[in-house]
């Protein structure tokens, strides 16, 4: 089997704050095969956004390695960085703040091409921009429009077109549909999936919405306070969630039918602080199954069944 497209080994991102070291991403290991989608789910403070940014080197990792197509890109600069950036792009969550308000749609989509100089000549660049607009379903007449003149769904399409401009292999989708209405979400999700089929793209899909991630991912990694606490193929994660947090997360999603109307919240309290966390399970303070063994010693991410990893005392 060929090398996976993307691999992280022991990836860490720490921030120094006045109160101590903030462990935003703590020792994350995973691989993504070409053409597949890894869903990264978690709630606020789990580090998923920082993870996405670190992989793309938009924020420099504190420790660990990032391997892209087998090559170590953790510390590359100059030409190699240029190559990496061409191949690894990002779609942002907020279509309002991720588009320069003073640039027209055409300029926005063309910008990566102009910066990287992948195509020369205005005419050729324009052609490529129109091509991209067609691919993402943006009518050509919007070429001269400004982002604020368009609705959220169309703006996000601009974001997708911009991410595709350099013909990347890998795209980090950072909550690309969270800011959109439900019916528009569905349109954009379908678009992303169609693009993956036709262009063989590989995605890292970051979201807090489990129902969205189920739809689009092949594998899912669940994050909590900077650590990956469970990772499994999508269907298996939903059928057999092992980690208590994953179970609680799944149970918390309000399903649009009347089957179970009682509200039983198994998780108590609030997320603990990511600053200088103590060794051991970080979920223990809120876990209904917490035992003394849960804290004190760092736990391993163990493979329980093929492809299904869990970091929990109950499965050590």
């Amino acid at each position: 089997m060929s090398a996976p497209l993307l691999q992280t080994i022991g990836l860490k991102k720490y921030f120094k704050t006045g109160k101590g070291t903030l462990h935003a991403v703590d020792d994350v290991n995973f691989t993504i095969e070409k053409g597949k989608t890894l869903g990264v789910v978690g709630e606020s403070g789990c580090g998923k956004t920082t993870l996405g940014r670190s992989i793309l080197r938009l924020t420099e990792p504190t420790e660990g390695q990032i391997l892209f197509n087998g090559e170590d890109v953790t510390h590359v600069t100059g030409k190699k960085m240029h190559e990496f950036r061409k191949n690894a792009q990002i779609i942002f969550q907020d279509p309002s703040s991720s588009l320069n308000p003073r640039m027209s749609v055409g300029q926005l989509i063309a910008e990566p091409i102009r910066v990287m100089k992948t195509i020369s000549g205005n005419k050729a660049i324009d052609e490529r921009v129109f091509e991209l607009m067609n691919i993402v379903g943006l009518d050509e007449r919007f070429y001269v429009s400004y982002p604020h003149e368009l609705d959220g769904g169309r703006r996000q399409r601009i974001g997708v077109a911009r991410a595709l401009a350099l013909d990347p292999q890998f795209i980090v989708c950072d909550e690309p549909v969270s800011a959109l209405d439900v019916s528009i979400q569905a349109q954009i999700l379908n678009l992303l999936m169609d693009l993956q089929d036709t262009m063989g793209l590989t995605y890292m899909f970051i979201t807090h919405d489990l129902s969205v991630v189920k739809h689009i991912s092949d594998d899912i990694a669940v994050m909590y306070l900077g650590q990956c606490i469970e990772k499994a193929p999508t269907d298996e994660l939903f059928e057999k969630p092992l980690h208590p947090y994953t179970q609680a997360l799944l149970a918390a999603i309000p399903v649009p039918n009347l089957k179970n109307r009682s509200i039983e919240s198994t998780i108590k309290g609030e997320i603990s602080s990511p600053i200088d966390p103590k060794p051991g399970c970080r979920f223990a303070t809120r876990c209904p199954f917490a035992k003394p063994e849960c804290t004190g010693k760092e736990l391993e991410l163990k493979e329980i069944s093929p492809g299904h990893f869990v970091k929990c005392v109950m499965f050590q």
Binding site: L58, I90, N100, P112, V115, V144, Y146, L166
Partner: protein, 302 residues
């Protein structure tokens, strides 16, 4: 879900919406026009600028502006002298029109100098942060602590009162404020996702500052620039008024006011023309600044 037959027929009957490609400048002008005060300001300012450029064409400096005609002194409005004559018999209107040159030139000079230095300093301090930012801001703090007028006076006193010196002197007083305002704009902007998007395709820092950040700080830059011009026109007049700026017999408005104050009780009309000119010029520039800021912001609803 596919569109059905009825909808297809309805769409076919619909007139295709004509879409004209309007350039950005056109859009800005359309928005600007909606503000009546701004239009007024623009009109007045244009007149003043045209006057300042064209005066040498129909007024001769030597004979009409500075030549003294003691016989004709202190004449009020007449056919020959629409605004009357001053204490040396010089035609006030001619002097007034010529005086526009100094105000406009110096005002523009200060605006350009303080904007460019302020923009570069402010944008880099804001974008790079850290020690660099600290050093710039602390140095500017020193300048902030000195009152503008006093600083201008000291520089003029030390280096002489040529027009370039005046421009530099006044700019020095404006640059700190400009820098600080632009810096805070930049700090707000640099955390926006679209800057991150620019970094995601390996955009050079200079391009980020000049193509992404500064255009978005445009509104702030323009307003501050025009306010600066307005302020500096008043400041120049003030400096000339106390004798530290442009010297008589040059018909700079502040200098004219300065001379007029000596005859204030007996011939008050000597003050009206230059005084009104100063106010009108500064006001029109400020109105333009306001109008431009609103028109430049693409998010403002028409």
């Amino acid at each position: 879900m596919d569109i059905n037959k009825t909808q297809l027929e309805a769409l076919a009957k619909e007139e295709p919406k004509k879409f004209k490609r309007k350039s950005q400048l056109e859009m800005i002008w359309i928005r600007y026009k909606k503000n009546k005060l701004a239009l007024f300001g623009l009109a007045v300012f244009l007149i003043i600028v045209i006057v300042s450029i064209s005066t040498p064409l129909f007024i001769d400096y030597r004979t009409q502006v500075i030549k003294q005609n003691i016989m004709d002194k202190f004449q009020t409005s007449s056919a020959a002298h629409i605004l009357g004559t001053d204490q040396f018999g010089r035609d006030i209107l001619c002097r007034l029109l010529w005086g526009a040159r100094y105000s406009i030139l110096c005002g523009l000079g200060v605006m350009v100098l303080s904007l460019s230095v302020g923009a570069v300093l402010g944008a880099s301090a804001g974008y790079f942060g850290g020690i660099y930012d600290q050093i710039i801001m602390r140095v500017l703090d020193v300048f902030f602590a000195i009152p503008m007028t006093l600083m201008a006076i000291s520089i003029v006193a030390a280096f002489g009162n040529s027009i370039p010196n005046l421009i530099v002197a006044i700019s020095l007083g404006q640059i700190p404020k400009m820098t600080r305002i632009i810096r805070s704009s930049v700090i707000t902007l640099k955390d926006q996702d679209f800057i991150e998007a620019a970094r995601a395709c390996d955009t050079k820092k200079s391009r980020i500052i000049f193509k992404h950040i500064l255009p978005n700080a445009m509104g702030t830059l323009i307003v501050e620039g025009t306010l600066t011009m307005g302020k500096s026109i008043i400041l120049i007049a003030g400096l000339s008024f106390i004798g530290m700026g442009i010297q008589p017999p040059a018909p700079e408005w502040g200098a004219m006011l300065s001379e007029a104050k000596n005859y204030m009780l007996n011939y008050p009309y000597l003050m009206y023309a230059p005084g009104i000119a100063i106010v009108l010029t500064a006001l029109s520039i400020t109105l333009i600044g306001d109008g431009l800021r609103d028109a430049l912001d693409p998010k403002m609803k028409n």
